[in-house]
Subunit: 333 residues, 2 copies
């Protein structure tokens, strides 16, 4: 990857450059469900490599002792998911700055799903998109480093360099504290990549733990926000001022955004919850105060399934919805 | 899987039956590092299926557009890791009740690593071990369900039933609150499986967040412990009294164990940190108050790498250390 921006730029500067070049703050979430793929993803878009995938998984997993009928299901579902993801990226990618694949949905497909995840990351990169891998990983330091290697940078080994998924950033869970997060951040920073730590998620249950009141008078999410800000101090981009440690900040709690920006002045915010989860893009102004790349708007089902409320084709409806969000967000700064 | 215990027993009862039958509370942690495999895992133990793995990963990932040299590294490292894991399970399994594979270490190997993880889970089951998958997953409810399907039970799909990894239990991260954890627990409970939620981990940084003081006078880990206890209420085994929602409770803070048992009277505890991380098995008495299966002792590097401080072979040194831990723990009740 010599000569690529990540050899020279911090994640914050790379992100800001991508947002400016693509004129978009929209992050396309991909959480493919084999029961809800685009109608076209059922054979017509299949290419030779997909059949190779199917053949490979069947032969190998069978010889490793797996139940062949079960493996056939995984392989067929994986091929359909790959076709779907390629079609979605081709249709919607031009309106977006990044792709956010949801790791769980690929893991559900087994080893074939991980092959598909790798192929989807490559397809996104070739479409000019950053890849923000959404796996919400968090573990003790030695293991957090391994997750960083798996998702982001790869790792040396006696067999040669393990490639890893090569994502530009990953989501991380800060419950295990500073040393655990530092291990993730160091793995990211060494390669000019980033981490988005959970600060306040968009599900109703987030109130149960992240909103708990602390002895110091604040809420747990404010404590996590300070940790995120501190972790990012050594990784600010000189051009953008943005750090390489961002925050996942649920867009369904917009009244918190101003406070979050106060606590994390340099962190890029990843704002899920727009669309299917009920968030509202017009209320996100404070996120963008440090600049357009400081607020990334994630949408998944509201884009991918837009055709269900439309007379248009899946591709056209999805692109239209993504362009609508892009225009709305771009107008806020 | 009809006729298997999980069709009839809750996870707590299944766990208690396994502990009684195997006379062991030891959970063998597997976090394989390609740079630190058993010396024998370098070719002599290779079987035909391993070469098939290598051959097909190369052909398929290459056809899907991956860099073939990188894929070759992943495949070769994966074959060596598979041989290592099989050898460790064969040597140490008889002293243990369960295997705890660390998901990160397999993800670092890419799609080939996931194939190896699947094969390792099968190998453990055929050795009579429960499988506790350590991935510390946590996400919003819709995604938490997908993780439950991926790790534990599998899922229906239009292509047939996706098998999932079929683990007996998984570790989960409760930061996202009750609704997110409920989705994981429901996915587990439906198949007689379990979830071990992080309450207080064993790394030094755990103090930064899990020990934070709350307005109500307690610590965050006590708040998490109450959540765990409440989530487990609907899933107690009638025979053992143990619930299907356990707790990861770092053995490096033994002064907390009595309080944890008070807050979670029916939860099985997963006690990492013995051995390599500095914990001490004799101090774990309160964990076992509800019965032997209420306290599971995890050890990874202290078992697998015991030969480095010994004149014995890797297999013999590992088995000896596991038997030593097994005897110590069994004598505590």
């Amino acid at each position: 990857m010599s000569g690529s921006p990540r050899d020279h730029l911090t994640f914050g500067d790379s992100l800001a450059a991508h947002v400016a070049r693509r004129e978009s703050q929209i992050v396309l979430g991909l959480d493919p469900d084999p029961a809800r793929l685009w109608p076209a993803a059922s054979g017509s878009g299949r290419v030779a490599a997909d059949d190779a995938l199917l053949e490979f998984i069947l032969a190998t997993a069978g010889r490793l002792g797996a139940d062949v009928a079960s493996v056939r299901v995984s392989a067929q579902a994986s091929v359909a998911v790959l076709e779907h993801c390629r079609a979605v990226i081709d249709a919607v990618g031009p309106a977006c700055v990044a792709l956010k694949p949801q790791a769980a949905c690929f893991e559900r497909l087994g080893a074939a799903g991980w092959l598909v995840l790798e192929a989807v990351c490559r397809h996104a990169r070739s479409a000019g998109l950053l890849v923000l891998l959404d796996g919400k990983r968090g573990d003790v330091p030695v293991t957090a480093s391994v997750y960083g290697e798996a998702m982001l940078s790869g790792a040396p080994s006696p067999f040669g360099r393990l490639p890893g998924l090569g994502a530009d950033a990953m989501t991380g869970n800060p419950l295990l504290g500073r040393d655990a997060m530092t291990a993730l951040v160091e793995a990211a920073r060494a390669g000019g990549r980033g981490v988005f730590a959970l600060v306040r998620t968009s599900n109703p249950g987030a109130a149960d733990v992240m909103d708990v009141a602390l002895q110091d008078g604040g809420r747990l999410w404010e404590h996590l926000a300070r940790l995120v800000s501190s972790l990012g101090e050594g990784g600010r981009g000189p051009a953008s001022g943005l750090s390489d440690v961002g925050a996942v900040t649920g867009a369904t709690a917009p009244e918190h955004l101003a406070r979050m920006r106060e606590l994390m002045p340099h962190a890029p915010f990843l704002l899920p919850g727009v669309g299917a989860q009920g968030g509202d893009v017009e209320s996100l102004g404070p996120a963008f105060a440090p600049g357009r790349a400081a607020g990334l708007i994630t949408a998944s089902r509201s884009i991918v399934n837009a055709y269900e409320q439309s007379a248009s084709s899946p591709a056209h409806a999805a692109r239209s919805e993504a362009e609508r969000l892009r225009g709305l967000a771009w107008s806020l700064v």
